[in-house]
Amino acid sequence: MLVLKNAHHTYDARTTVKLPELHTDKGDHLLITGLSGSGKSTLLHVLAGVLRPTRGTLTINGTDLYKMSESQRDRFRGRNIGVIYQQLHLIDTLSVEVNIRIAQYMAGIPEDLNRIRDLCSELGIGEKMRSYPGQLSQGQKQRVSIARAVVNEPALLLADEPTSSLDDLRSEDVVGLLKKMAEKTGATLVISTHDSRVKRHFDNVVDLELPVGEVA
């Protein structure tokens, strides 16, 4: 369902990031590892539909993402791709509930408060729906971010370094949670990380190498 072919991205004349060939089926879980500078972020942004690669195609469920117009891609992204960024990027001025609801609103999907409520209680933040991000712990914030990424039941769930700031126990929890969420909706899960603790949970690992001649 996710196919990335012949892709590379050139930031300026000198810096070119070659992206790996990817091919996953529905419900696959994929781990992308590599040192910083190996192009993990670039790959994640391309997969998230927010960075057009200089060359190459990305197909999700048969749709060639970068052949669409920008507004079509906005719409597709909102409905089919959920992303949990390393910096969680919750909107401080909005309550937990609205932070999740805004994903439905921005994607143009009817707002479904019951869905949000169920999701929150499942993620253990059911009591915090009226709170603001500033009032939450880092772990709670991450769960809000997860809820926001999965609320629209995306086909592709992306997570960027979800365990980097967590201790071993929590790290296990979060990976488990992400897997559970992906399985529930049949989403393809792609996690990008340099955290070796995560590796043993995944069979399918793509290790990015530092490009030759590049110094990280």
């Binding site: 960075l51 507004s71 906005d74 926001r148």
Partner: protein, 463 residues
């Protein structure tokens, strides 16, 4: 969830800044609204009161003063004119009608005007109750006077000399309220009308009071500054009336007697609209005449004739009002510039606040884009924020402006005379709201373009 809520949530985060910008804008808008309301009502009032009056004739002096005192009753008159001369002018071939006014007294600041019934008729004033005067010392009240002083038909009061409530009191003559006018929205509402003879009668020394010579003397002394009833004149007057002294005394005796019985018959002499023209009053004076021309040609000839051939002057209300408004316009323009500076400052204030806010929330914008929000949605989100501030400022400004005008109307006597009200809405105010909306859009368009251009990948990878 909608854009409005989203915009509002950002405004709430910087509530103090938002409030300050709203206040700043509202002061500018309020100033403009005050200017609009004041000048509109002033102009409206001036032209409405001067309608159908082609010229005002009075003693020589400032023509603006003559107009202000003769039509609007807000300035002191330029002086008095002799009835004899005035009568000649009334019969001038270019004059279609002339309404006399004898001024010089007030009741608690409300001017008493000795005139003919043609005067209220000109303003379409109808009686709410009672009748018009047909005797000396009978008065009909304008609606504001009756309301403010709680006077009713059948009540009596004594007038004060001059134009302010603190003048010398003519307590030797009660004035009898015989009627009250409906509200006209014109100067009539603030006046007390009576026959011309009443004004002469009030100032006439009475035989009863002859023993009180000092009092009389003071009385006439007062007159000199504004009424020019000098001693010589009074002397002549007494002399001229010697022959019918008897009848006068009888009338007066009857008058004092009836006071003890009640007010029903407490009247002076019978008067009509023409009675004051009688030759027996040749030595009396009136203050002003409101002239209507027989034909448009008169506008060119009549004022020149009066100014060159008589001791009086004629002034055209249309000309003087325009001149007055032009003079006033300079001051209004200056205040208006000040208002626009305030508004410009608020545009900058809103602009800077939004620009700073864009820096703070660039990640928010990127994440909203990532969540599927289109560029135009983010653009509108920021424009909406500018609009919310500016419309709040605009509405608050209009509220403040109306409250200020209402306050000015209530607090200042001068404004009361123009019946200033904050409860009046004028078409120009719609443009003020449009101006406010324009301000919101202008000050938010650059920040909105920034939001529109948010590069998701670049922003998020910098985090």
């Amino acid at each position: 969830m909608n854009l409005l809520k989203l915009s509002f949530s950002y405004l709430r985060r910087r509530a103090l800044n938002t409030l300050l910008n709203i206040l700043l804008l509202s002061f500018g808008i309020a100033t403009i609204v005050v200017l609009l309301l004041l000048s509109y009502q002033l102009e409206d009032n001036l032209y409405k009161n001067a309608e159908g009056i082609d010229a005002v004739v009075g003693a020589k002096g400032s023509p603006v003063q003559l107009i202000l005192s003769g039509i609007f009753h807000i300035d002191a008159p330029t002086g008095n004119i002799n009835l004899k001369e005035a009568r000649e002018l009334m019969n001038h071939r270019l004059v279609a009608s002339a309404i006399p006014q004898a001024l010089g007294d007030n009741y608690r600041g409300y001017r008493i005007v000795g005139t003919t019934t043609a005067y209220p008729e000109r303003y379409g004033a109808e009686l709410a109750e009672g009748t018009l005067w047909d005797h000396e010392f009978e008065v009909v009240l304008g609606s504001d006077v009756a309301r403010a002083e709680g006077l009713q038909v059948g009540d009596t009061f004594v007038s004060s000399h001059g134009f302010s409530a603190s003048g010398h009191t003519h307590d030797e003559h009660d004035l009898h309220v015989v009627g009250i006018f409906e509200t006209t929205g014109t100067v009539i509402d603030r006046l007390i009308l009576t026959g011309v003879e009443t004004m002469w009668g009030i100032h006439e020394p009475h035989d009863d009071h002859d023993h009180d010579h000092d009092h009389d003397h003071d009385h006439h002394h007062d007159h000199e500054d504004s009424h020019s009833h000098d001693h010589d004149h009074n002397h002549d007057h007494d002399h001229g009336h010697d022959h019918d002294h008897g009848s006068n005394e009888i009338a007066h005796a009857g008058y004092t007697e009836s006071r003890h019985l009640g007010h029903n018959h407490s009247r002076g002499r019978d008067i009509t609209d023409e009675s004051f023209l009688s030759e027996e009053y040749d030595d009396e004076q009136i203050t002003i005449m409101l002239i209507q021309y027989r034909n448009p040609l008169a506008a060119a000839q009549f004022p020149r004739f009066v100014n060159e051939n008589t001791a009086m002057q004629a002034a055209a209300p249309a000309v003087e009002i325009t001149r007055l408004l032009n003079l006033l316009g300079v001051g209004l323009d200056a205040i208006q510039i000040f208002a626009y500076i305030l508004i410009l400052a608020s545009v900058l204030g809103i602009f800077i606040a939004l620009l700073n806010s864009m820096k703070e929330r660039k990640y928010d914008l990127a994440i909203m884009r990532s969540l599927g929000g289109s560029r135009s949605k983010l653009f509108m989100n920021v424009i909406l924020e500018g609009l919310l501030i500016s419309l709040a400022g605009g509405l608050l400004g209009m509220l403040l402006g109306h409250a200020a005008v209402e306050g000015i109307g209530l607090l200042f006597e001068e404004a009361q005379q123009f019946a200033m009200s904050g409860r009046v809405f004028i078409p120009g105010e719609g443009r003020v709201l449009l101006l406010a909306a324009g301000i919101g859009i202008i000050s938010s368009v650059i920040p909105a373009i920034q939001a529109y251009r948010t590069d998701i990948a670049e922003t998020l990878s910098k985090a």
